[in-house]
Each structure stands twice: as structure tokens, then as C-alpha cells.
Symmetry: C2
Subunit: 453 residues, 2 copies
């Protein structure tokens, strides 16, 4: 293997278990709380929202969970995904660093999201559920769930943030191709939606609002459940197939990473890549720096607080201890729609609080500049979200050029940008601005966080 | 290999030679003619347009041509491409047929076009050329050439059919991401363009017109050459890596095709898949039926005539003997932009004339219906062009269901439809119509074909 660009795995080499990081952590993550009693939430508290099997995964203490054969069978449509050595980017930068990227854009929906959409739909189908509801911003998650529902014959109803619904009709079309039904959010289909439209008929919506609508719709029908595309433990669990594959692929070429870099929105792409490597690190086998990268316009880890907060705007979800900017926070319309969420996965928040990973925030114009360097050397046009990871990777590679270090950098290219070209157009025409949040805006949003001791 | 979805090749298994079908044909294809003298064109006749190495390939009688190492190195960004067994589509149709599809949407530009864009740019770079001009319709070819030019540091200037330039701004953005410069065609940059705009300032353009503009621009500068994305022998030559890989992949699972199906626009995707299998057929090793599929709105093979005609509207190219609807033909705006060309590759026309392959035409609504069945089972959203091949594949698979035959069908899914979702939206909303050409329209267009004995 002296000369290679892609490192592939055979289908027979695909991992058959997901990895649960919880039992390996030095201290357990804080429990989710029932919003009424403020006591630790029980499995029953979740049953109107999720199927029992996923609730069990959400609370599991098992280190490994077998992937069902029917799920593996759908994964095979695009998995194992390739690991690339970015030789052409290295050459462009003139860096001695070795850059590897795990590419999830090969999935039908074009991102890592189907890794969890497929098992979520399958477990729901096993329990006789007929319909799933969900929210989506830019549309990556909604289209992934629609694809997965088509695989197992479930109905799929999606509340898409109204601003995106209007600005990005093509993602809606993609959801409809796979049989999904799409509503702009806020909608007149839910009480919460109607209350918002009464105040502002042109309400742009937010992820938190769309979650509230999708959840409330699921709560009303016994054959309907809700599905979330990030944040929760079971979602991050399903994404660990990314990191497990990457471990096998790096081993094939005899490399161990000095640095892991992932973008963080809700945290599922980052957790999926990082947790299997964190396991090896906690076991003393490797010692990479693990770095989260978030947008300066939504700096959950670097400027939020580690507090109990709601996952949605209306306050329907259990309280989760997480890094949050406040559930009333409505991020500015930066282009990385998948990174515009007020909170961070409780598991990612916990390991950040433990000092096991670090975090930085990068402004979007630096991210798009990195994306052009990447596209012109490696060919792939990245989604706006992973351009944050690419920008951080390039920063590190240029530091290696200064220092002469031959660091091995591993990053996750979690999706392609084929449906985000309007953002590139805005950047290239000089119309994109960087948005920094003032401390006042953050303080105002933080006021919505419940005051729990 | 009793259970698999994808059949992959290692990078080390990637073919290192292109296959030239010409020396294996029972009769040689008719020569191209100089438009002035009507004598067979010489290498010199092409030198203002193409680099010497590509002209040599255009006229080559060698059976195999080595792929340069630098080209292989770029191919490795996405090649070898996967061959899929469409098990989920088979199950949906309830067919005993085995359906295989070779997927070229994994390339950076999302189609098979980079297979020839990369070597075309490399050979030009070797001869010191600084800039390439080209035409593009929907934008697949223009973006592929822009990507390839970025790899080797050449400038890229693209004339995009004005109707597509206006309706599909995202493909333009993609070309610009890779550093390409894009003009709507007709443009005020060429004499021919200005003459058309004088008559109609809102002229929608056509591929033939855009070719005329790109060629005339190349002829004016000694450091600029022109690049064509289909039709010519050397383009089909470069695409044979598709079929060579597919042969290796089918051999891995012990299958031989009973039927090959490919969509035909200019003919390069079809030729790329079919020629290596045709070689095996002519050698008596296998005996598949080989079928071209074209749109009823541009039925070059099934309703055109096998005549000498120009490749462009202004008549700047050599005369090629090909199935043509007449170089003045402007196809209706069906959604498969890549299949809207008045002519057919001379090599495909010749083997069709020899009876080595057959052809059918399919209306577009049947194609989009097939695309939805495919997307909902196999996951991938196909480009409008290969939906023609999918529709023909499904016709055959359903015939097998009737007859009980376990035919092995191989088709080429030459690109994804991520930038063609507006067409799907039109289909799903019931606004798409089938367009059949009347004999009168065809007769009128045929009047532009030169009368050569």
C-alpha cells in the first residue's frame, strides 16, 4: 500500500456492531430529566415519542450493540464508505502532514444522516409503527429519513424550517422523490405552529420550532412516532460505524491519527467519528488530540453554558444537560444549516466538560475559502457543515508546514454540497459576511434556560 | 460472494489501457471529411482545434492505448467505480432477472464525463496549451472539464446553452467552484453569437450553437484548444474504462450479461460501457443483446438518417458520417439535457448500421416513473439521461417476470440527479408531458444535411 488514494473495505469487513461510549467514560453522563417532576426520566416517559428498542439504546450501558441484519443490508447500498488520503490537498498546501478524510457523501441522501435514519425506521417498523414525523433544516436529515422510510414502507412527514423550505425547494423535491410529505414550519397543522403564524404569517421558523411541531404531531397518534437526526445518545451510537470503519481503514495503511477534527452541530457526525477513537485513547492505545469545530455564528461549546435545557422551543422534550445557547436562541441564517442548533449532544457536551475533547469556532468565510481549496484539489464539493472541519484541518496542516511536523490528521467529510451551491455562489460573489454573536445576544438567549441547581 | 450489493475493484485492479474498438470491427468506419475539399480529413486539419496526441487517438488503429500515469492518478479520486447488483429493485419488480448497474455518479462532477475530461486536459497540458474552450448544455460536461482543468492548471471557458444557463444557475456555480469561466450561448463574444443575438436577444441557444462559439474562440488563439464531451472517437475511447471495469467486476461474481442497455445522447456513455463487451462478443466469448435507448423527443438512431453532417450549427467542424436529425435541429426542451444533440457518435452510428447493436426510443414520463421506482428501492436519484436506460431495464425485467427467464441485465447509471431535481418536481406535480416529433419536423431539420453521394 505504498501508493493509494482511497482506502476501501469489503462489504464483509463492515463493522456489525455499534459502539456505545457511555460505559467507557470516567464518569457517567448526567441523566435526562422529566420536565414536570425534574426527576431522572424513565423509559416510559419516552414511549409516546420513540419505540422501546431505541429508548433502550438511549439508556444502554452495553459497550456494543449488534446492528440488525436488515439494517446492514441497507447500509450495503453505500457502506463501507471510503477513507481518502488527501494527497492533492497536501501538495497544494505544501504540508508534511498526512491528511485523511472519511467521506459520507456517498450515501443516497448525500450525508452521514442515513446511518441513523435506517435503523431508526427499522426499529419503529418492528414495533408496528406506521408513520414517522421529524423536523429538518436545510433538508439533509428530512431527506435521509424519507429515504429510510421508503426502504421499510413507513410514511414520513417532515416539518422543514420555513426559511429553508422557501429558499431550498430542491431538498423538498428530494424528500418527495422518496415519498416524504413536507410542510413548512411553523405550519397551521399544530397548535404551536398556529400560535406563531398568528403573530407572524411569514415566520422564518427554526429547528427548535420544527421539532416542537413534529413531536406534538407524533404524540397525538398511537401509530406515529418521532425521529431525531442528532443530539440523542442512540443517534450518536448509530453513527459510530463511521469511526469504527475509519479505525479499520487507517490500520490497513499502518497509520494512527495525531489529530481528529470534526464539525459539530447537534454532534452526531462528530461523535460518530470520534467515539471509537476515544475508546482507543481511553484504553491507552493511541493518543490523538480530538477537536470539535463549530461556526462562530452558533458557538454552542465555546460560548454556551453546560446546563439543563430543552431540546425544542416549545419545551416538549425532556431536559438534557448540554452545552446550550438557550432553547429560545434563533441562529442567524448562516449557510451551514446543519450547524444551526441551540444545543449540543449531551454526550459530546459531557466529554467536552471532562476535558477529553477540545473545541474551536471558525467564521464561515474562512470555511468557504477552505472548501474551494479542497474542491479544486480533491474534486469533491463539500457541504457547508464539513467545511468547518476542513478549515480547521487546513489551519493545522499549515502549522505543520511551519513546524515541519508530519502529523496524521483525520477528519470527517460528512456530506457533499450539491444542494448547497447557492451558498458557494454567495461566497464567490463576495456577498457573504461573517457573523459574530455579541455577548448581549447570547445573554438574552440564555435567559430562556431553566434555572436548575 | 453469495451475498453482495456492490462489486468493487481495488485501485491496483483498475484497467491501465483504454480500448479502441475500431480495429476489431468487421468493416472500418467511414472517414471524417474536410468540409471544404470533401476529402478525408488529415491530422493537420484538426490541429487548430485539438492537440496532436488526441488527433492521433481519434485516428488510431491500435487496439489498446495506455492511460498516462498522471491521468490514472486523478482517476483514483473516484475510480474504480462501483458495480451494483440492484437486489432491491429486483425485489420491487418481482423479477427473476438479475440487474446490475455500473454507477458513474461517484465522480466529482457526478457523471461519467470526467473520464474523458481528465485525459483531454492532460494531453493539452503536455503540448503547452494554456486554455480550453467548450460547450455545455445542462452543465455536466462543462463542470467536468472545469474540474479537470483545475487539476492541471489550465484555464477553462465554457459556453452554456442560454436556456440552461438561465434555468440552472447551480451548474454554473459548480463550474466556477472549479475555476471555470461561463458564458451564456449565444454570446456577444463571437461573430456567430452576435449574429444570432441580433435576430433574437433572448435566443435560447442549442448545443450545436454553443459548439460553434467554443470552436471559433479556440481557432483564434494559438495557446487555446477546444474540447468535446462526446461524439468523437477519442472521447468514446476514454470512456471504455467503464466497460473494462464492468467486465472485471462481473467476472468476480461469475456472471455474463444477456442484455446490455445504455442511454445514448452523443454516445460516449453507451460506447464506454458497450465497446469492451462488443469486443468479447465479436470474439465469440459472450453473446449479449446490446441496446441503445434514446428519448422520443430526440430520436437520432430510430428516426434520423445515416448521413454525412456537421457536428455544430455553424458548420465549422469536419463532416462526420453519423445518424443525424440535421445540424439545424433544435430539440424540444426535454429534461435530459445530455441527450439533446442532433447527431450520434460516428462509431455508435456505424455499429448500429452494421446491425451489431439495436435501438429503441422511450418517452420521458415513462423514464421518470422508472426513476422513482429506482430511487425508492436502490436509493440513488438518477440523472434524467440514465433514466432512459433504467426504463428500458425495467421493461426487460418485467418481460422476464412474464417469461420466467433469469436474464442478466447490465446497465450504466451514468450520473446522479442532484442538480436535476426541478425536473423531478415537474414530473411529480403532473406538469411533464411527452413530446413526440412529427415526421414534418424531422423532415424540415433533415433539409440542413449536406447532400453528399
Amino acid at each position: 500500500m505504498s501508493d493509494y488514494t482511497k482506502i476501501l473495505l469489503e462489504e464483509s469487513e463492515m463493522p456489525t456492531r455499534w459502539y456505545n461510549v457511555v460505559p467507557d467514560l470516567p464518569t457517567p453522563p448526567p441523566p435526562q430529566l422529566h420536565p414536570g417532576t425534574l426527576q431522572p426520566a424513565t423509559a416510559e416517559d419516552f414511549e409516546a415519542m420513540f419505540p422501546k428498542a431505541l429508548i433502550a439504546q438511549e439508556m444502554s450501558q452495553e459497550r456494543y450493540i449488534d446492528i440488525p441484519e436488515e439494517v446492514l443490508d441497507v447500509y450495503r447500498l453505500w457502506r463501507p464508505s471510503p477513507l481518502f488520503r488527501a494527497r492533492r490537498l497536501e501538495r497544494l498546501l505544501g504540508t508534511p502532514a498526512k491528511i485523511f478524510y472519511k467521506y459520507e457523501g456517498v450515501s443516497p441522501a448525500g450525508s452521514h444522516k442515513p446511518n441513523t435514519a435506517v435503523p431508526q425506521v427499522w426499529y419503529n417498523a418492528q414495533e408496528g409503527i406506521k408513520k414517522l414525523t421529524t423536523e429538518t433544516g436545510a433538508g439533509q436529515w428530512g431527506s435521509s429519513l424519507a429515504f429510510a422510510c421508503a426502504q421499510f414502507g413507513l410514511e414520513c412527514e417532515v416539518w422543514q424550517v420555513a426559511a429553508s423550505y422557501r429558499a431550498k425547494p430542491h431538498r423538498r423535491t428530494m424528500m418527495e422523490i422518496w415519498g416524504g410529505k413536507v410542510h413548512p414550519s411553523p405550519s397551521d397543522l399544530t397548535e404551536f405552529g398556529r400560535s406563531l403564524l398568528a403573530k407572524d404569517p411569514d415566520h422564518p421558523g427554526s429547528l427548535g420550532i420544527a421539532i416542537s411541531e413534529a413531536v406534538s404531531e407524533a404524540l397525538e397518534d398511537k401509530d406515529t412516532r418521532y425521529a431525531l437526526g442528532s443530539v440523542l445518545n442512540h443517534v450518536l451510537l448509530h453513527q459510530t460505524i463511521i469511526g469504527e470503519e475509519a479505525l479499520l481503514q487507517l490500520a490497513k495503511v499502518g497509520e494512527t491519527p495525531d489529530l481528529l477534527v470534526g464539525c459539530t452541530g447537534g454532534g452526531s457526525n462528530f461523535g460518530g467519528l470520534a467515539f471509537p477513537f476515544l475508546r482507543e485513547k481511553l484504553a491507552g492505545k493511541i493518543n490523538p488530540v480530538i477537536r470539535c469545530v463549530e461556526p462562530t455564528a452558533c458557538p454552542t461549546l465555546t460560548k454556551g453554558q453546560y446546563r439543563y435545557d430543552f431540546g425544542d422551543t416549545a419545551g416538549l422534550t425532556p431536559l438534557m444537560k448540554m452545552h446550550t445557547l438557550g432553547h429560545s436562541f434563533i441562529p442567524e441564517p448562516i449557510h451551514a444549516g446543519g450547524l444551526r442548533y441551540h444545543g449540543m449532544a449531551p454526550l459530546v457536551s459531557h466529554i467536552y466538560d471532562l476535558g477529553l475533547v477540545e473545541a474551536i469556532a471558525i467564521p464561515q468565510t474562512e470555511c468557504f475559502a477552505a472548501a474551494l481549496q479542497f474542491a479544486r484539489s480533491e474534486g469533491i464539493v463539500p457541504a457547508p457543515e464539513p467545511t468547518h472541519a476542513l478549515a480547521a484541518t487546513i489551519r493545522e496542516a499549515l502549522a505543520c508546514k511551519e513546524s515541519g511536523e508530519e502529523k496524521v490528521i483525520l477528519t470527517a467529510l460528512c456530506g457533499h454540497g450539491h444542494l448547497d451551491l447557492a451558498s458557494y455562489d454567495k461566497y464567490m460573489s463576495g456577498e457573504m459576511e461573517d457573523l459574530d454573536l455579541s455577548d448581549e445576544v447570547i445573554a438574552a438567549a440564555m435567559a430562556s434556560v431553566p434555572n436548575l441547581a
